[in-house]
Symmetry: C2
Subunit: 787 residues, 2 copies
Amino acid sequence: MIKHHAYSVEPWSIRETELDLGMMAQCESLFALANGHIGLRGNLDEGEPHALPGTYLNSVYELRPLPYAEAGYGYPASAQSVINVTNGKLIRLLVDDEPFDLRYGQLHRHERVLDLRDGVLHRTTQWTSPAGRTVEVRSTRLVSFAYRSIAAISYEVRPVDGPAQVVLQSELVANEPGPQVSDDPRAAAVLEAPLIGEENAAEEAQALLIHRVKRSGLRIGAGMDHVIDGSESELVGTRSYQDSARTTVTCQLAAGESLRIIKFLAYGWSSERSQPAIRAQVEAALIAAKATGWAGLCAAQRQYLDEFWARADVEVDGDPEVQQAVRFGLFHVLQASARAERRPIAAKGLTGPGYDGHAFWDTETFVLPVLAYTNPEASADALRWRHATLPIAQQRARQLHLNGAAFAWRTITGEECSAYWPAGTAAYHINADIADAVIRQIDVTGDADLDREIGVDLLVNTARLWMSLGAFGDDDRFHIDGVTGPDEYSAIADNNVYTNLMAQRNLRGAVDAVARHPDLARNLEVSGEEVLDWRRAADQMVIPYDERRGVHPQAERFTDHARWDFEHTPPEHYPLMLYYSYGDLYRTQVVKQADLVLALFSRGDAFTPEEKARDFAYYEAVTVRDSSLSACVQSVIAAEIGQLDLAYDYLGEAAMMDLADLEHNTRDGIHVASLAGAWIALVAGLGGMRDHNGRLSFAPRLPTGLRGLSFRVCWRRQTLRVSINHEQACYEVADGMPMNIVHFGQEVTVEPSEPLRLDIPPITPGPRPTQPPGREPLHREPPEIEQ
Amino acid sequence: MIKHHAYSVEPWSIRETELDLGMMAQCESLFALANGHIGLRGNLDEGEPHALPGTYLNSVYELRPLPYAEAGYGYPASAQSVINVTNGKLIRLLVDDEPFDLRYGQLHRHERVLDLRDGVLHRTTQWTSPAGRTVEVRSTRLVSFAYRSIAAISYEVRPVDGPAQVVLQSELVANEPGPQVSDDPRAAAVLEAPLIGEENAAEEAQALLIHRVKRSGLRIGAGMDHVIDGSESELVGTRSYQDSARTTVTCQLAAGESLRIIKFLAYGWSSERSQPAIRAQVEAALIAAKATGWAGLCAAQRQYLDEFWARADVEVDGDPEVQQAVRFGLFHVLQASARAERRPIAAKGLTGPGYDGHAFWDTETFVLPVLAYTNPEASADALRWRHATLPIAQQRARQLHLNGAAFAWRTITGEECSAYWPAGTAAYHINADIADAVIRQIDVTGDADLDREIGVDLLVNTARLWMSLGAFGDDDRFHIDGVTGPDEYSAIADNNVYTNLMAQRNLRGAVDAVARHPDLARNLEVSGEEVLDWRRAADQMVIPYDERRGVHPQAERFTDHARWDFEHTPPEHYPLMLYYSYGDLYRTQVVKQADLVLALFSRGDAFTPEEKARDFAYYEAVTVRDSSLSACVQSVIAAEIGQLDLAYDYLGEAAMMDLADLEHNTRDGIHVASLAGAWIALVAGLGGMRDHNGRLSFAPRLPTGLRGLSFRVCWRRQTLRVSINHEQACYEVADGMPMNIVHFGQEVTVEPSEPLRLDIPPITPGPRPTQPPGREPLHREPPEIEQ
């Protein structure tokens, strides 16, 4: 875990002022730069020391066979794994023949700053070589949001205390040796040397490497070019080999003189295109980058981010740490998605090899709701990616003897990569989660083209899945048995409330979609009878309720199970899955992550306020939050039922997930969904924003610890700004059309340029719900920090 | 599948009169000889052609790592696999320099006879070599019941149509190349060359090979010696190498003259003993065998079997095929167990590598009930083996945070070897099955020593498991949630009726055991309070009942699930597990093998006759019998409720399981439990024998197809003979004490030497239950065969 205050608390940046070799891996994840297409871990320019060197291209993967000691029908034979592609970040430095290596000599100063407005990573180092020469190195790295295939580094070295001969070696390296494989099943399998050299070329300050990935067959091109800026500097030249290329520059510098190079990096890949095509693509990108120049790239980066923050920024008054964390989170959400463009948004973005680089349900459930309101182009593209995997999902459904589409639980290209079916294939709710994201996207953007392009198709195919997966019982109700809900400490249960309610929304969404687009429905051979069946299944959906205990069971019989023996579970036995068998976990009442409580949020329209309060209190007592996807949801429902301080505690946990490494696996990459969760906890939690049935509603309330909160959401091409203090909420629309929203149940109209101030009604919450001993969220006291 | 009448129907033997290379693997299993310690597959003497060469020593295994694409807590890291040890069966023949190989030349006659009374495998072959010389080969093979470490072969060759130079090469071969690994998960992983040579020695007609198994470290010794009987024969000598040894004998034979050798084989193995100790052990066994001589070995074999058949024989009047099959089954049950002596009785006995050579719950549930009544020393030893694994089972329980003992679902030495926990570890009923076998063994034999030696220990430790696995709910009833019953098309369900009823018997058995032996209870730190808890848990055990449908659900919610779509399941999609996902199977009503129906048998005392009839009819309609463990149980309950013709159909299926290869995997070894099931279907089914609560009861009834049935059971050191025809049952005790039994609910006393004839009351059954389309048992018409 990262110690509190490892980074100074600043509103628009993350600053590291000490180099801690033991924390290297976590910092590499936090300081990763990405644009949704290219991802560079925050490795040092000189490559070593490193924890996990990482350079990723969205959807560039290798196949690895999935072994089964006891195989079963429908088990996937192989899985896709993200790979560390050609590393173009490397700039090695020699000072009077001594390699610049922070493990030797003396480090006087080390600072790295991730600038959330400029979208760059700055580094400043002052170091004395073992031979006694002191140099200052300044570098700035960016992965361009404006130019999808481009990254660039400005690197400058300056002797401080006397003259020095410096040599810079700027490299491309393929098949970098990786670290040991972790025993943690969540860490990705590391694949050794997956790249086969196809071409290498070097000329002047330019080089190109083309490789093929061994089993997946994908072709990757990486190119670099340089601009050298230093009096007396000499370009020694560039050489290329099968797995590396190196541009060497040397210079005799006097004290105070500096040598600076700008390194332009371009990546291209394809499963289809030929070697000459890839070569041309990379060279073209390099020429464009060089023409734009470093200053041009930086300006475009700033402009892109200015536009993003204008739409998306959240201001938190009273807690600078949360303020920093939510912007950090939004920045990483943007980095994971901005230029993904019909490629997946992986659980770890492009910041590390965790979860094998796979995308899960949390993209649709946690990330897309944020993007729909802050960067709707990106969420539309993410849904286009899902839609592109529809043929594979249809084939998977056929394999499983189901109708419609069964989307992969974890995947890069759409093929199911989950090797443990009870917490993979059986988690069919992902299909309803996708449908939910589609419905929201259309509601929020009003994008009728997208509706026609992918909406109807996705809604109809997922609706068909539910009809074949579930069945009408002899009670004439619609049952969905033997599925796994979001809580992975239960599995293969009947009538999971979350799943059934989401399937209900899915079915109704399909009914609406075919009504909107009867022509598309005909193409999909949707009959009137089929639509009636969807409607009847939705209306007759079983939602189990435990009358005796007055709560909803997470699934049938859940509340009949014995309670987990929390009293005898030592604190070091968390996360439970590493210390207890699935059998133990599944047959008892213990919840890894919000499941029924997630239903209270996602399908809040299906519960009364009293039910929400009782259900929440019940599940709080058995939820251990062994998943990063839980705290933000618990925060939202705590806020809704007036447990504002508890909501604030959970908000803190969601926000600090990666900055404080609360799950102990930030080393493998940041948690995109949990970082999105910080926004959710603020906007849906404290802001009380809901969007059920296409209506935007708010019920904002602040905990005592905060003075104010403001956020922006995009709705039908307009931006609504919401500002809250303890007494009032203020709704503003800059211009355009009046906007109808709901404030605490009351429909109101926000007129353009007429801020609407409305009172916040008081709430008297019940007693604070309790958590399992030792699993209470950290009590959040806003840190007192001078700004 | 083996075609009907592949073997001629004879009362005391299995005769093969044609060599079908496509059926080789099945025949090798059927003609396997074993004594519970050594197993020799029915490979041809000359080794080739073969399907699966196999020589097994009970509990000699290799370790293989179990791979998991997604690992979990408590998953076993490696599994034990039976290995093909040093092959001592080989006797190669050269006729005028031509290898005797049935794939070449011309085969005039081929006959193999498994003699169930002599306990030997005879072979007769007449063959003309490609060069035109005709020879007759006769061999007889035995694995001695009387001498545990000994096997022997008499091999004789005689030129028929002219003189011939013959050379016999009698061999020991280690690390025989095996066939391709099967894709069927049920077939064992074949382990290549697992043996490391430690010693080889040869002298005169004798040789010895000592090997160690690579990873398990077990040491194996195999020795051979020969007696040569042929005028003019010359012992060329014996040579040994690391992985082989060869004794060569040559002889010039005139037409009609013969050369005969007797080959004595001895095996020894140990995990502890040194190389010299193993060498001495093998040599001593060889000397003893040679001293006993071929005739002596044959006589001892016959005597052993005469005694067995006197206790165990079942006579079936009217169906010679079933007559043959039940004796064949009893013979294989004996072969699997006779000299196992505190080693496991594997699912495939020692006849093939299927199921990795593991023992499962079916040993206690299907095999031991037969042995308890026919060879109680063997069942006592099998339970002693289980008891020997108790420390491992206790450790496993601790690993799973449970109390008492959690016995392995599949194992050789006691370590859990199951890699798929929902159908492995979660099948906790195995612990109650063991307890049930203990209770029966003590009831049947009255063996108080065994009770003290292992009974109390096993009952207390399994009772403790249930108390920690289950829990009292807030309804004060005892619930056992999240377990898998016998039916492997369901898993991880709550309150499985079979499991709960068997756990109830287990708990009550433990209560009785500690009352019988308070001193042992004290040693085990059993408190009075603990015993009260056991009693209360047993009394308050939840047995779910579906009031609406008037049947017992197999487990909670089972009858609420959708029914499997049998109508749209094509016949070639059975067994279902090879064509449908576990998810599909688990969430629907489809039963692989008797589960609730097994409870109707094993805990028949817990159901009324009306419940049995209704439950049976209900489950018949959803049971597909994709397991060999089902037909015999269905036969028993069908008989009990008066569905005698259906009982007879299922009896036929159970009896013919391997002779007709009904499960298509007899190639990997015979199904010991199903073969035991033929006895169960006859004795417990048609004979109506039950032993609930230590009382021996009968309710015999014959189907129209049979004229009579008689069988013997051992009860407290006496043998009761029961003979049935359509009108009467006759009970006889040869001598000793009067025996109290129950005939159709009425207590009667059978006086020694006074056969007691009692009428069989008529029964009027309801309509014949129906099965899923295409899964009806074959209608059994007794074949008309002249004897």
